[in-house]
Amino acid sequence: MDNSKNKDTNYLDSYRHAQGDDGLSQHFRELVASDRQKAAQLLGTEDLQYSSLYILRSEIEKSNLTEDIPQQYRDALDITRGILEKDTARLRSSSSRSGPAIHESLKWMLETGWREDGLEEDYDEVLEITAAMLVRTYSDHSVLPVMLDMMFERHRKGTFMYDLAWAFFESGNPQCIVMIASRLNTGHPKDIALVHKLLHFIPGIQSGAQEIPSQQYAHILQWYHENSPFLHYTGESFQQTCKPIPFAVSTPAKYLGKRVSPATGLPLQPLAREEQVLWDRFVTLDPVSRNLLSSFSCKLYRRDITQWNDWMYLPLHEQIRTARVMGGGAV
């Protein structure tokens, strides 16, 4: 049920936008008193937005209308209650009873409710935990764009966004980097500042950098193109440090030209014996040498694979000398 495009076609949503949250609650109470069946019908329409359901949740419960509304909305109310009461047992029970249905309810809540982010603290918390559940429990990455919009909007308003950022990165999807970088193109100073904060770990990307945003965007895309096969999720977050590095390059994998799992950072294909020897040799190096050799190796591999193959079997000190002369660089 994708209602994200059907803004205000639903009577209850339209009423709320015209008369406010209190106006809707009052109107609904009066409707229940005068025509309970009609009230239930209005709640049964498919194009309702989550924000209206959220506003009416206590009225629905007081009027014993919960059983009269569609299952998806009943699930949404159950989830809302579980989140606000920190009743994880309730949430687990819902999920195990009807996993796919709960997934759909969560998705409906976020996709129809996100535009009202900022409604109130509890509502915002429900949305961010809904997003976290979609990403972590259901591995649903289709909601990442909505989460990104919410993060940047909250940052502009100065409201709490760190748990949302945590949930966003918990997707473990390196494409998060490109999604974040695209916000440089809005030109909004707060968006640019947040991009710098979230992607500070990319060489050359930091506050006060000389490049204009569009140049920085191109720079990030180039870095991503070079490193994406070797990126893995570290799990670092703003709770741990002010400068988390959520995605790191596996320098030994980059050195060998081996794609890694974004979840583990380990090569997707088992290493051959000779490759394991090269890997074990490489990891004894200091971080600067690792960056130098992995960067040079990657460039050489793409330029001339035969030359690369010869170079890989040189002694390490020879590799380092060659890389310095011919130009390695930052990972």
Partner: protein, 266 residues
């Protein structure tokens, strides 16, 4: 190895200044026996670091014994006479309040405050520096404080997260990560905890516990069917001891007695 002014130091001379089994001797022993070189420009810098680490431990224990409550950012609270609560749940020191008064109020009127674990660590760091610097120097150095997680910490505190630092020392802030946390309780995605130097750690919301005990607690907040246990990461968050030392006249380090000293700290 310890080097001061470019010369290797005989740690026995340093150790003789402190009681054996003291936290100071433990710190010095780790530094001295390490394969890494810990280089200090002066004896003052080294002594300052040792004192500040001891002060961090004291401030952590003091905070544990206070009535500071554990609250998520959405529900955080503070004494509005001293702090303004921001939209994102942080605490901004009021412009007419001395920084030392603001920090001390958290300890004196702790029941009026509630926040989560990372902010508690920053409070501990500020309190520890205050107790070593004294109010006058502290207020000169830190003329505005924002308490919100690890964000916007005064650069003069020099807080940094060191990945794989080689050695871990009493007074370090460690992080126990909970990778399989229930998404409905993101506040338990991990726990920041001060190393108290005796096999125990102070984590706000958990209290003073061993590493294993903290892991058991965090594991209770995992999602259904979780496979991965919480674990302590090989990283440490520390203030910039040397830069902080350089702001303090050498003679004053000798006069530090500590505002709060629990019985087991000698």
């Amino acid at each position: 190895m310890i080097r001061i002014g470019g010369s290797t130091v005989d740690a026995n001379i340093l150790l003789s200044q402190y009681p054996s089994h003291s936290v100071e001797s433990k710190i010095l022993t780790i530094l001295d026996s390490s394969d890494r070189v810990y280089a200090y420009r002066s004896l003052h810098q080294l002594q300052f670091e040792v004192k500040l680490r001891k002060s961090i431990i004291a401030a952590a224990i003091h905070l544990n014994n206070s009535n500071l409550s554990f609250r998520t950012f959405r529900k955080s609270k503070c004494n509005t006479r001293f702090w303004k609560r921001t939209e994102e749940g942080g605490f901004l020191l009021r412009s007419d309040v001395k920084p030392s008064d603001g920090i001390n109020d958290i300890y004196r009127n702790s029941s009026r405050y509630g926040t989560e674990c990372a902010t508690a660590m920053v409070i501990v760091f500020y309190k520890a520096v205050l107790d070593v610097y004294g109010e006058s120097l502290f207020d000169q150095v830190f003329n505005g404080i924002y308490l919100m997680d690890w964000q916007d910490v005064d650069p003069k505190l020099g807080v940094n997260n060191y990945r794989n630092p080689g050695d871990f020392l009493p007074g370090d802030c460690r992080y126990i990560k909970n990778p399989d946390v229930d998404p409905a309780t993101p506040e338990w995605q991990g726990e920041n905890a001060i190393d108290l130097g005796n096999g125990r750690y102070y984590g706000h919301g958990i209290g003073i516990k061993t590493e294993d005990e903290i892991i058991v607690i965090l594991n209770s907040f995992r999602r259904e069917g979780a496979q991965v246990s919480a674990y302590m990461m090989r990283s440490a968050t520390r203030p910039d001891f040397k830069a902080l030392a350089d702001r303090m006249p050498a003679a004053e380090t000798q006069n530090y007695t500590g505002a709060y000293s629990p019985p087991w700290i000698q």
